[in-house]
């Protein structure tokens, strides 16, 4: 085979890749934290029986679940600035798209987790004389959060892979850096291979952790 797997150029531009890795991690966590935080409110709204909470939350979730993330990111970069009186940089646009997407998906995890708790456990708390919030805090949340953990970890892995989409609006994460280097060094195959390896090293431990969550046999009825 005539192809030379020469990674010298990759090594030569390692400083640029390093910046890419930092940016990937930065945008990943910037989206994950508020995504999970606000997801609980949207999830609670969808769990609620009140229509004025349920319907807005449902519409929000369905819009973000049923459109491509790539389009969401591009929309916030190109279309959103037309609607608002300020400019928006690539980082903010990508963060907005990915965060709202994470809010939508994590809200579904919260909702499913809450719904997985048997009605009888709410009732047992209520029969003891607990208020709604006591039932939620003492019984339902401790049980459901345990059940949600694997799904959240999975979502985290998904989110880090989705950050690569921010490259289309020239945010300098790993993929965009690889693209930039390959236009100088003419080595796209090696650059993207290097990117894949970096992502793997970053995310594989997380995936192993998820499996741990799933297989751990916990007597506390997960």
């Amino acid at each position: 085979m005539g192809y030379e797997w020469d990674f010298a150029a990759v090594f030569q531009y390692r400083a640029l890749l390093w910046v890419g890795l930092q940016n990937t991690i930065l945008i990943g966590f910037t989206c994950l934290t508020p995504g999970l935080f606000f997801g609980r409110f949207v999830g609670a709204a969808r769990f609620s029986g009140r229509w004025w909470l349920y319907y807005p939350a449902a519409i929000f979730v369905e819009v973000f679940r049923n459109t491509p993330v790539l389009v969401q990111i591009m929309w916030f970069f190109f279309a959103f600035p037309i609607l608002v009186p300020f400019q928006i940089d690539a980082f903010s646009a990508a963060t907005l798209g990915l965060t709202l997407n994470t809010v939508a998906f994590s809200s579904e995890i919260y909702r499913a987790g809450l719904q997985s708790v048997e009605r009888g456990l709410w009732e047992a708390g209520r029969a003891l004389g607990m208020t709604f919030w006591e039932q939620l805090r003492r019984i339902v949340l401790p049980i459901s959060v345990r059940r949600m953990l694997p799904a959240f970890a999975k979502r985290g892995v998904e989110l880090f892979k989705m950050t690569s989409l921010a490259s289309v609006i020239a945010y300098g994460e790993l993929i965009h850096q690889a693209k930039t280097i390959s236009t100088i060094a003419f080595n796209p195959i090696k650059m993207y291979t290097a990117d894949a390896l970096i992502f793997f090293v970053l995310l594989f431990p997380m995936t192993v952790l998820v499996r741990r969550f799933e297989t751990r046999n916990d007597p506390r009825g997960r």
């Binding site: 047992a124 209520r126 003891l128 004389g129 607990m130 208020t131 019984i139």
Partner: protein, 261 residues
């Protein structure tokens, strides 16, 4: 004897379905009252109206001499905080135990005193241990519900209700979900409670237990109380056709009296 509970003209409908059509009942302190009747005759619903897990659609409930709710126009208005205080005074045991899966047996029993009564941790622990011992499960204090048999889970559930020091205990088919060999231990626990003078309102299909423990049996059918009296009256000399039919059903197949010596 003081009257713990008085129910007057209790009605409950779910949409168009009338489950309770005017129930009157008075329960004295220390009395054990058993509700029997066909499935779907509203026995559970009646029990759940006593601690207001379901809000009655009509009628009045007096608990410990006090009327529950206030009449506003033609409607009863129930203040949720008052209902919460009432539920803390009424113990309930469910068919499916409903133990808190993430807590040990002891933590389950301590939970009411801790969260609802807001007692200090040492008192909660002492109470938890006391009532877990009472149902014979002190040695399982650190076990999670999933590690206990159905009978043990139900006894923990009884201890959990008792730890609130309730005025009256409600048993909603407490043994219906249990394997036959586990029914006995739960009924024994209930019997010893009755002997200690606990006021109890019980829904059950265990007629042998009813004979041994009940002070009064109410036979319910189609949303009403059809017949009531001592177990001897209702179970051996039923007057109403519906009561006879149910008792005939129970007696279709009788086991031989086993010689267990």
């Amino acid at each position: 004897m003081t009257e713990v509970l008085r129910i007057e003209g209790l009605c409950k409908s779910f949409d168009a379905l009338e489950v309770l059509r005017g129930i009157d009942l008075s329960v004295l302190k220390g009395e054990v009252v058993v509700l029997i009747g066909a499935s779907g005759s509203g026995k559970s619903t009646m029990l759940r109206c006593v601690n207001f897990m379901e809000l009655p659609s009509g009628g009045r409930v007096h608990f410990e001499g006090e009327p529950v709710g206030t009449l506003r126009g033609n409607d009863m208005v129930y203040d949720e905080r008052a209902l919460i205080r009432l539920r803390a005074r009424v113990g309930m045991v469910f068919q499916h135990f409903n133990l808190f899966a993430h807590m040990t047996a002891l933590e389950n029993v301590m939970e009411g005193p801790r969260t609802v009564l807001k007692l200090d941790p040492a008192t909660c622990r002492a109470r938890g241990e006391k009532y877990l011992d009472k149902v014979g499960l002190g040695w399982k204090a650190d076990a999670y519900p999933a590690m206990l048999s159905g009978g043990q889970q139900q006894r923990v559930a009884i201890a959990r209700a008792l730890a609130m020091a309730p005025t009256v205990m409600l048993f909603d088919e407490a043994t219906s979900a249990l394997d036959p060999e586990l029914v006995g231990e739960v009924l024994e626990t209930m019997k010893s409670l009755a002997e200690e003078g606990m006021t109890m309102l019980i829904v059950t299909h265990e007629l042998g237990f009813v004979c041994a423990v009940a002070d009064r049996v109410l036979f319910r059918s189609e949303g009403r109380i059809l017949e009531q009296g001592t177990p001897a009256d209702v179970l051996t000399h039923p007057q109403q056709p519906a009561t006879k039919s149910i008792l005939r059903g129970h007696g279709t197949f009788r086991p031989l009296e086993p010689n267990l010596d």
